[in-house]
Symmetry: C2
């Protein structure tokens, strides 16, 4: 059999297997798989370099299905590569099966979870950046995109960054099957519309008939030869290609075929072709950059007033001097987040992502695919832009560190658009996350080090304004811990804050003390996981707790404390948080106006102490 | 004075005033204002149609500062238009001033809050869609963009949709001042790079010297004459133009000038020019579309098993038959969210936003600027993509209704990428929001009607699977309420759920009853605001509460209940929620596997009832 004939047969097998697995599952997306089957057949047979026995081989290419709903095709590809059995394939979408509705890294060959459209390509940019700038290995990154997902802005962030970084190791393959979920896409089969956009963004573009295996083969060869530019292959395909029941028909998205038997017959029946995908060769040693950044681990003394964002930058720069795997990204606010300190010390490991927060988080996810430890920073408020990417990063079992500066009304004059007031809630509601909120520079630095080893999504909220140094450089802080700063046997009330409100709580404790009210003060620097034991002890000891946070009342410190006390009786909690929409003003004015300064804490504590327990 | 000479003088005044206000505030972005001053001077003097005394006049043009940090320029523009005084201007960024760090609609002339980059243009697309397709009035939408924000993907979603919808009433003005916050942008002064992209996306593009007032004037005229296409004016400008201290210099972003006196002198000193901005003329009556959709208000009987997403669609279609101001948008999943029912009944008021969730929410915000009541729907998980737009919509004091379908593990086989497990937390942590989660079709329909009158961000979570009908069509449900479905004087425990878990709670109550344990059941369909009174009464009556939700443990129903009970003693709450990362499976299998089905509720309730109060 000629190569071309084999590729065509292989394409048919991928289609048949996509139909079979979806039929076994009773759900799935066979038609979206069938359109791209020839594209994947030629890729695996003649262009991909991958050792399925060694998925962590640094030389392997990376194949990302940005159109994750084409999972039947991906799993059929794995079967054709000999990586999985036919029985595996037919467990598709069953409880406990690793062959989920959309691919996730529970399978060793899957780099990242997809299924939220528009993410695979920006993540691929991150992997390709790792290949070019860090590993300096010749692996290629192939990303299969759907035409519908070209409507996602994140795709164009990826186009921009791939061209800007001259990622000629990246190839995007757009499966232009014309049909979305409910109707034709905006551009139908107008391949030029995609190619013109890509060219304007600085890419090399090739238009092909996505069912002409020889044309596809030539396109991949041309893509691999492109220099200084990424390539997009814009392929005209038919959804459901080869089965008359569904081919190029509307209303056939995301469901198994009614008559799979007939369709399989039309496609020439079941096959068991196996492809020996080419293994990667050559140097297997990724480049490792120097750890000589000339930065000492930072320390601050009791007289220093320092913003935690500054401490973040100092610590990150120092950490980069200890660990070659630590890299940093920023959304063009590095002089605000202080990631610029890392950029200056380790320019080869700093990635300027400009004002593209989705691409920034996606690139972080891509970099960790290649086992780097990315720290990505921007204003905390602007991580809301990338929430879907964070959500999916958790499904990808990614290890990424995120730092958001400029938390809360305490930023002052810039006003509400720049004030993060929902970030604690947003990041707490992420699987596998930790949420850290230091109150002091030494603590911030220690937690930066801890984040680098955290096996999930680590988020740190940093503050804009300088605050006093209350800890020593050798004090220990662990993820999941807390710090009790004031405590006595006579405590009548407990004050819990973090960041700027911890300092307000300390002031409040002094004021209360002057009134004869002993207050315990807890620094809840680890908002998730939360130190349940210390909180419960405080509840048992004092029976009254005031929480105070520069955040909306929902989902932040107050809710974390209440959650720790859910099954505890005999404790009353008063939550102080930002309840009105802020405007501009000086930080202290806004803390006062929104009732989260020491005055408000004192009043709330007095109230709790004066109202007899059990009165409500 | 010739027109050109006047425009130049006016530009200088806008610069001087930007410097003065930032100097008075001690912060702000004068240099980013100075680059665009000539663009705004010519616009207001010769092209804008706006009645500052009647900001709600439907004929008014709309001017949106997508680069919201150029607020000093915007406020200087208001002063030059005679809308505000010089004293007003100099309150910039002070506590209580309406002249905030970034513009918000506390000023009557501001349509929407900006300051998170990349939002003004997609919102402008929404306003322009209203003008073209709904109002059918000839007002124009002018959006001033920064060059840095062109890196945001949302900008390209806007380019795509503006061209697709042939919005020739929309003009984007890109102030290419070359410099971002820390460095040069990716494209510097390469105007072609922006123009080429815009042309590829289907726009008309004009490159100009942004300090040549005559060229600017011609460009605006050309833009207004463009037919069937939006126009972008790509203007080469200098940041800090006209002041030697800052002109085209790095490191001058976001700070007042060191020597404002000298700069003002260089700019020719203070001026008090006033422009009579042309008032709009002609027909002031927006078109109102027919309310004849032929859809009756839906009702379901006790034997119907119906998904709440289906009820959402039926109710929305019916509501559209009652109210001409109700419009719908969807992210190309209208057959999943059932907004397709609205689309069929009212095609002229349905907007297909394809897979561009940021643009979808932005368009909703733009449509409500023109006083429509937009309902935007997609899978609940994909609203994470638009969280920054929702956050900013709250600052815009926008009234929008959002509906997210496919909540939680109960969706089954599609897997975690499609399962919303953070949406309740995300939407609770939005200022002015209400979060609704109906459990029954009649309830869902009633709440759809309530959402339309809600003065903020209204979010409804709908379910994929069919559930029994438990309410009658005349039952009343109010935002902030709850429904007690089982209650007796002997209740020993309270079960609180919503959506699919409410039905599990009802099953659990039956099972507990058979064991002699009386359980109260509360349907918490309004997760925010939460019905504190009913929850507290249940706490007082039963002393033990089990909350159960198809959501991560953080920020959802459990936390809302705990928050209502913060100051209540003598109650123990056990939260059931999804704690592990789900895979695929059947809905019932996943509810069981993740401990949120009736079995888990029964076990938790037994535990609470058997453990004597006060034992912990």
């Amino acid at each position: 059999m000629s190569d071309s004939a084999f590729w065509r047969e292989l394409g048919q097998q991928l289609r048949v297997d996509s139909i079979r697995s979806s039929d076994a599952a009773g759900s799935g997306h066979p038609t979206s798989s069938m359109s791209a089957a020839d594209l994947i057949a030629v890729l695996m047979a003649n262009h991909l370099h991958y050792d399925f026995d060694q998925p962590k081989d640094p030389r392997n290419d990376h194949l990302i299905f940005s159109k994750g709903h084409a999972s039947p095709l991906y799993y059929s590809f794995l079967r054709a590569a000999g990586a999985i059995t036919d029985d595996d394939l037919l467990t598709f979408r069953q409880l406990g099966s690793k062959f989920e509705g959309h691919p996730t890294p529970v399978l060793p060959w899957v780099d990242v979870a997809t299924g939220s459209l528009g993410q695979g390509l920006p993540i691929g940019v991150g992997v390709a950046l790792a290949g070019k700038r860090l590993d300096r290995l010749p692996y290629r990154v192939w990303v299969l995109c759907g035409d519908s997902e070209m409507a996602e802005g994140s795709i164009w962030e990826a186009f921009e960054h791939a061209a800007y970084n001259k990622l000629d190791n990246l190839t995007a393959i757009i499966d232009v099957n014309r049909l979305g979920q409910t109707r034709q896409t905006m551009h139908g089969w107008d391949l030029d519309s995609y190619a013109d956009r890509a060219i304007a963004f600085g890419w090399h573009a090739i238009e092909v008939d996505g069912h002409d295996v020889d044309a596809i083969d030539r396109a991949y060869t041309e893509a691999a030869e492109a220099h200084d530019r990424p390539t997009v292959i814009v392929a005209r395909t038919k959804k459901g290609k080869g089965a008359s029941e569904v081919e190029d028909k509307e209303g056939k998205h995301g469901k198994p075929l009614s008559d799979p038997k007939k369709a399989i017959e039309e496609l020439g029946g079941e096959r068991s072709l196996t492809v020996s995908v080419a293994k990667p060769t050559g140097n297997a040693e990724p480049h490792r950059s120097s750890t000589d950044g000339g930065v000492k681990w930072p320390q601050w003394g009791p007289d220093d007033e320092v913003a935690t964002r500054r401490a973040y930058g100092d610590a990150l720069a120092a950490l980069g001097g200890e660990r070659a795997d630590v890299v940093a990204l920023d959304g063009e606010v590095s002089n605000s987040t202080f990631s610029e300190l890392f950029a200056k010390a380790h320019p080869d490991r700093y990635f300027e992502m400009f004002i593209a927060e989705q691409q920034m988080v996606a690139a972080a996810v891509g970099l960790q695919v290649r086992r780097y430890r990315p720290f990505a920073s921007t204003f905390a408020a602007f991580f809301t832009r990338a929430y879907d990417f964070v959500r999916m990063a958790a499904i990808s079992r990614a290890r990424i560190c995120l730092a958001g500066s400029h938390a809360g009304v305490a930023i002052g004059e810039d006003g509400p658009s720049q004030m993060a007031l929902e970030d604690l809630a947003m990041f707490r509601a992420v699987h596998s996350s930790t949420v850290l909120y230091p109150s002091d520079p030494n603590q911030a630095a220690t937690l930066v080090r801890a984040m680098a080893d955290y096996p999930g999504i680590a988020y740190m909220r940093t503050s804009r304004g300088a605050t006093p140094t209350i800890y020593g450089p050798d004090d220990r802080f662990e993820i999941g811990g807390s710090s009790v700063l004031r405590s006595s046997d006579d405590d009548q009330v407990t004050l819990i804050g973090a960041g700027v409100t911890l300092h307000e709580a300390l002031k409040a404790a002094d004021a209360l003390s002057a009134q004869g009210i002993a207050a315990r003060v807890i620094d809840l620097y680890s908002v998730k996981p939360v130190d349940e034991e210390t909180i419960r002890q405080a509840a048992a000891d004092t029976g009254a707790i005031v929480t105070v946070e520069d955040h909306w009342p929902e989902g932040g410190i107050g809710d974390a404390v209440l959650s720790a006390l859910a099954e505890v009786e005999a404790v009353r909690v008063h939550k102080l948080a930002v309840t009105g929409m802020p405007g501009s003003g000086k930080p202290a004015e806004l803390l006062h106006e929104f009732g989260i300064d020491s005055d408000a804490i004192v009043a709330a504590a007095q109230d709790l102490v004066r109202t007899p327990a059990g009165a409500n």
